[in-house]
Assembly symmetry: C2
Homo-oligomer: 451 residues x 2
């Protein structure tokens, strides 16, 4: 072995990061390719969007994380396509990268299920840019309402809708209610921010539908206590400049609509010679490889795997465990051993809804309210990567807890004044698509928390 095998990891999320770090010291060359320069602690991204945390608190430069791992190279680039025959990645803007082993961990993004023309009116939350865009939109809505003399138009600025009551949607809605009721109190002279309506809209029968009925019902009560109007069984047929349109009920005039409804797998999965499920995720073997390609691993939100008859959930701990497994498997194969199949261990999962409001489930035990919230808090501080990030986040949270303030309430990146949401691309009036919104239907819906 004059030349060490080249392991290329695509994606610096929880899965890719664990795989690449797990290979520290192994007799391989590792290249981690990501299109952004940072690992994102996605479970707290909604807090950046709702101005509770600043961006650097939930992001770590990838180069920093691999500084001391001498067998690893970080490459800031976007993978355009994969050629599994040549074992080659083609990068955007030219250039290519040959691999001996590929670990594809490029994750998922939010999806509009065929209604991409809704995107400009209802931004989703996957990247730091998304989070800052949502923050700007929400804060500007209150500014616009403050300046708007017409009561009906003002009302539309004070109606905020969140589509999809999965974890992201529920967390966003709870945080928006806190902003309106507490963070902005006394700061406006023409409007009362607390009069804002926060509507959480879900096509399915309940909120946080992946949890038990009991936890789900508790979540709904908690959200309502926080001031969120929860509307279940409510099918969206259109989103435009005027607001949200529904099947069989009146439209909601809302200038601010956020999308928390669905995820679709990274399009890179389509380059692989493998079967994919309805959400575009790649069906992998129990050792996380693609059938017939022992050099092709797919992990994290992009992988579709069943274990004991239930799908492995698309949550951070699962991605981490998969990454760690791949690193161990690669080491085993180098040593000439056969790696055992991957086993996902589910410890639990939780979702936060607001100050002292959350639900959690551990090994079948269920928690709600204050206790669940404290558990959520400690788990998230513990899992936040980087000592300094943890400190700053704790400080921000402690401060926010007793002051009800949100410190990251800074708007940038937009011209001043009352800024309407971006005009839709093209602006063509597409017909509303029936059955378009399948809230919570995509398997592998990202669950922002689990211990």
């Amino acid at each position: 072995m004059s030349r060490q095998p080249h392991v290329v990891v695509v994606g610096g999320g929880f899965g890719g990061l664990s795989a690449a770090r797990g290979l520290a010291g192994a007799p391989v060359r590792v290249t981690l390719v990501d299109r952004s320069n940072h690992h994102l602690f996605q479970p707290l991204l909604y807090q950046v969007a709702t101005a509770a945390l600043d961006s650097a608190s939930v992001a770590m430069p990838l180069r920093r994380l691999f500084r001391r791992q001498r067998n690893a190279t970080v490459l800031l680039a976007e993978v355009e396509r994969i050629d599994p025959g040549l074992r080659r990645l083609h990068l955007e803007g030219g250039g290519s990268l040959d691999y001996d082993i590929l670990v594809l961990a490029s994750g998922a993004t939010h999806a509009y299920f065929g209604n991409d023309h809704w995107a400009p009116w209802a931004p989703g939350l996957k990247t730091l840019d998304d989070a800052l865009g949502i923050r700007r939109r929400v804060l500007m809505a209150f500014e616009a309402a403050e300046r708007e003399p017409d009561p009906e138009k003002r009302r539309a600025w004070l109606n905020l809708a969140v589509i999809g009551a999965g974890p992201t949607g529920a967390e966003l809605a709870g945080a928006l209610a806190e902003i309106a009721r507490h963070a902005l109190r006394d700061e406006f002279r023409n409007i009362d921010p607390a009069s804002a309506r926060i509507c959480l809209i879900e096509a399915g029968p309940r909120v946080l539908g992946t949890y038990s009925e009991r936890l789900s019902a508790s979540a709904r009560r908690q959200l309502e206590r926080l001031g969120v109007e929860v509307q279940t069984g409510c099918k969206v047929t259109g989103i435009d400049a005027d607001g949200v349109h529904f099947e069989g009920r009146p439209s909601l005039a809302a200038r601010t609509v956020l999308w928390g409804a669905g995820v679709a797998a990274s399009p890179l999965g389509a380059c692989l010679p493998a079967e994919r499920d309805r959400a575009g995720r790649v069906r992998v073997r129990p050792d996380l490889t693609v059938p017939g390609h022992p050099e092709l691993y797919v992990i994290g939100d992009l992988a579709a795997l069943e274990q004991d008859g239930t799908p492995v959930p698309g949550i951070a701990p699962a991605a981490k465990q998969m990454g760690q497994y791949v690193a161990r498997a690669v080491r085993a194969r180098i040593d000439g051993r056969d790696p055992p199949p991957f086993r996902y261990r589910h410890y639990g999962s939780m979702a936060t809804l607001g100050r002292r409001h959350a639900i959690a489930e551990f090994h079948g035990r269920e928690l709600t309210g204050t206790l669940a919230w404290w558990t959520w808090l400690l788990a998230h501080i513990y899992f936040l990567i980087g000592f300094r990030n943890r400190l700053v986040v704790m400080l921000d949270w402690a401060w926010a807890y007793w002051s009800h303030r949100r410190n990251a309430r800074i708007i940038f990146g937009e011209p001043p004044g009352v800024v309407p949401p971006d005009a839709p691309p093209g602006g063509e009036a597409l017909p509303a698509v029936e059955d378009a919104q399948e809230v919570g239907a995509a398997p592998g819906k990202d669950d922002p928390a689990a211990a």
Copy 2:
């Protein structure tokens, strides 16, 4: 007096903020108009640009600051023009605002002295957006160098030029040298970030020319010790995609050029019936009003005032003192008293160059090096608005001090991959303008620190 006088303050910088806050409880209605939603602690803005601080650490929401001041309203809007005859402000996007007393504190911006086509290649630093743009450019330059196989092109990515050795330019250059030499150490595999050349280019004979010759010479030595190449007496004749071109010496191939050279007053000054100086600043009377218009105050960087034969400097403490004076003067006039003229008290000024490198001057006493740096540090933490900001900044700095790390190294707002600087608008090849760059020539050059 059935109706209270309406005092409109334009600009939420140090001057406008002090004026509006100084009127708390006074029998007036106060409206503070700003185009951004936050007050910016501008002296530390270069630290956001160089990834040492996150944006929320140097910005405070204006509404938060005026939450409890019941006679004050904050308006997020851009003033388009002033009609002093009607005592009316016209806002961008329609709408107007009538005033009884106007306090114009709209400050200054960076200026290219007739070479606005340099702007896309050499961004300046005045707003949070500017800072994040510069951060992105600097970090992406190292990423581009890492990916560039051609040695000459790689060299151009590793040459970073700062034009203008005033406080902003000197601080930026010192921070860039620290990034290259320390913060990025061991993080790249194809380049050595420490091999980057940081060139500080100044047309005048010395750096930080507003300080004494002794301090200026010390600053130069300190910068060189930090790894900055200081080039004085160096007249820029052009900046383009290839780099910087000079009068009578070879060009510098640099893909990253930052502009710290000059400031020009806010264009709103031109709306007033008053004389302006060469930098566009409004000449005010000793009571800071415009001659013949006792209802028109101009303060901060927009005001040109001489005191005892020397101009009042364009620094934060001067703006603050002016704002406080205006608040007292307005109160006095309401009480029927005649306010005494404004007196600027100069306590000192300082500029930081890097870790334990700074210069400072207090009441004629001069400090350099470590002692100046500690003074600078304490003064800036003390003057940072907001308890939480101070804590976070201290934490970030303490962390950075012993780890050499920069925590805010997050790139956003750009497509991935190697991103060249924005294409110039139009791209027309304008002839190089002689005598165009007048580094430090604009009076009222912003001095980012003084106690």
